[in-house]
Symmetry: C2
Subunit: 117 residues, 2 copies
């Protein structure tokens, strides 16, 4: 019985990263702080969590990386959303809304009106 947060985060990371990348192409390290900021400090993931997700997104063709050498500092791998990535973002957002609505319905103790016959 682990922390709920850890388990809840499962699957949502992909959605959240796509959402942030939709605003603006961003590199990995920066994604960490943006995610932290936008969630009011709730989602503090580590690099060892982040990069594997980015590779999955890349393998799935949802994002494309481009190496970027800033004037000073280490090189950055900037990820940009592809068309497929935008589609996926819409898909996942819809799925999330349906899912969380279903949970909320159960938590509120309401029986949904007659379905599933």
């Amino acid at each position: 019985m682990e922390s709920l947060e850890r388990e809840l985060r499962r699957g949502t990371l992909e959605l959240l990263l796509l959402r942030i990348l939709a605003d603006e192409p961003t590199y990995g390290y920066e994604l960490l702080s943006r995610l932290g900021k936008r969630s009011s400090g709730r989602f503090h993931i580590k690099e060892g969590t982040l990069y594997p997700v980015l590779y999955r997104l890349e393998d799935a063709g949802l994002v494309v990386p481009e190496w970027n050498q800033p004037a000073r500092g280490a090189a950055r791998k900037v990820y940009r959303l592809t068309a497929a990535g935008e589609e996926r973002l819409v898909e996942l957002t819809t799925e999330w809304r349906g899912f969380s609505a279903a949970i909320d319905t159960i938590l509120s103790g309401q029986e949904p009106e007659e379905e599933e016959r």
Copy 2:
């Protein structure tokens, strides 16, 4: 990259089962159909998923089982929420609300006001 639903369900099962059991002590097999009904058919978990969760809840002292022999048919293991289970339900509900609110904020593209300094 599996289905989002599968991953999202992670961690929420415990919460949902506790919620259903809070209404009324229920046995495993019945929980399956109640969960399906209350989620409008969205959450169709299998027995191989359900029972291990119930055992975790039992080990954690959140529910207690009682064998019940109905007039006809196979014996039923009816689970009842403990006081600890009720507390945990409140805890998890709060955590869920905070979590889903955080996701919604990020999805809506709003920056939360200055926090996390």
